[in-house]
Amino acid sequence: MNLRAGVALSLGLAAAPAFAESGQVWLARMGAALNNSSYVGEFVSESAGRSERLAITHRVRDGVVSERLVSLEGARRELVRENDEVVVYLPDQKLAIIERRTGRSDLMGALPQFEGRMASWYKVDWVGRETLADFGPTAVVAVRPLDGYRFGYRLWIDVDTHMPVRSDLSDGSGRVIERLRFTKLRFDDDIPDSAFEPGLDRRKLRWVRQSPQNDDVAPAWRAAQVPPGFRLSMSGMQSVAGSGGPVNHLVYSDGLASVSVFVQQPVAGKAPAQGTSRSGVASAFTTVVDGHQVTAVGEVPPRTLKYIASSIRPVGAAPEARPAAAANRRD
């Protein structure tokens, strides 16, 4: 059975032509394709006036997801993940960073259903069909945020494979801030393990481990208030390179977008940073609360990060996080 038929059958969509042009249905098809397909390809990431080519190898075998991203320019940095472990290879720095997750979060991250509470924060629209030069006909779907606390997405989904061959990330005004488009894509159910080996000499690397610590330790910090729709989805202690000690890691999510909050003791001899910074589609806001450095990081607008980081309080000093009243305003 080919991929398209398999995905359609698994979703029960083969006999549902009435929903053929529904944005929700196309998102479900795309999610199934992303979670079940093994493929090799190249894509271009464009952001902030920069463009970078990357190669991707993605394999799903017996429920285990393996993925390798390689920058095709410069130092050819790599990111390899296998289930709950992510390794970032930086050959130009002779460095590798290992990040291991606990079992509390699904790294595969299936797409959520845009129903129920999700429908309060996002609107999924069927935009239409569009033919892309490299891939032929695509179904275009827009995921629009209903307030200014999250980003929007426009997705070009290949009608044959259901893969998102192009995606635009837009800010609250609809302005595109990042475009990601495939230039090559080939499906392959027999990708060997060797395809996930980094293309560099690992013996020459210095290894740094960022890992969870003491899962049973009760988190000492909480957000007193969060933007509408956001909830605490994970909390724990972990090490972060350069932090000088254990860091309290909280994750708040609205079901699609997520924000990580890191609370740590200030590093001795270093003035705590305050303000906003950005890397690609992700931003960070850092402030100081009760003598601790609080940094919120995520693929959301900076105002969302500022909102959450500024409301972080020691447990006991503030009530459990509650979403602010929904408001369709932008600032």
């Binding site: 006036g49 130092a75 797409l111 302005r175 210095r206 960022q210 390179a241 350069g242 690609g280």
Partner: protein, 209 residues
């Protein structure tokens, strides 16, 4: 910046670049802001990796640059009135190069518990802070069309955590990123234009099991 130049920078910082090539590299540093930024990052990374956060090691790198600048031939005094501008340029560029390296040292000072950071170095380093991309948070109509697409240019950086620190947090956040953008977050992490990820390794740095 080409791989060849990066290799030269790396060799220079390791003290392994032949003197003639060092002189050429310094000339290029004088006129290339991007290269000076790269030098500051490389010097920091190299110092950290060689010394586990030992500040004197970073200073050794800066000293190596200073020594190389000092080895540059002095221009004849008789040409002072016209080449004087060149000499002035050379001096300013030399300071900029030294400052670029010093930036690495200052970052290191900020990352480790050392109390003898030299204030003049810190002042110069602040002027050489590497750019961080701007934050876009403008209001506007929800239904504005996404086309045509023009990637906005990077502008001056707002205040915030150091790029390397941000990258370390992003590694920790990666697994929790939205499935729609996780690949973008990953791409940002390994982008060649992005900064170093680690400035000071944690105690649990270890060899791969």
């Amino acid at each position: 910046m080409t791989d060849r130049i990066k290799e030269q920078l790396s060799a220079f910082l390791d003290g392994e670049l032949p003197e003639p090539e060092s002189a050429l590299l310094l000339k290029r540093l004088e006129r290339d802001d991007e290269l000076r930024g790269a030098l500051s990052r490389y010097s920091l990374i190299g110092a950290v990796l060689r010394s586990d956060g030992d500040v004197p090691a970073a200073r050794q790198v800066a000293a190596r640059v200073s020594a190389a600048i000092a080895r540059e031939p002095v221009r004849p005094a008789g040409l002072a009135w016209i080449p004087g501008r060149a000499a002035l340029t050379r001096g300013a560029a030399g300071i900029a190069v030294a400052a670029a390296v010093a930036f690495g040292a200052v970052l290191l000072v900020q990352q480790v518990p050392v109390g003898d950071a030299e204030a003049p170095v810190a002042v110069m380093a602040l002027a050489e802070a590497p750019p961080v991309q701007p934050v876009v948070d403008d209001a506007g109509p929800l239904d504005a069309p996404a086309e045509p697409y023009v990637t906005p240019p990077a502008t001056d950086a707002p205040a915030g955590i150091a790029p390397a620190e941000l990258a370390n947090y992003l590694v920790a956040h990666y697994g929790y990123a939205s499935p729609l953008v996780r690949r973008s977050v990953g791409a940002g992490l390994i982008s060649d234009d992005d900064p170093a990820l680690v400035e000071a390794a944690p105690p649990e740095a270890a060899t791969r099991p």
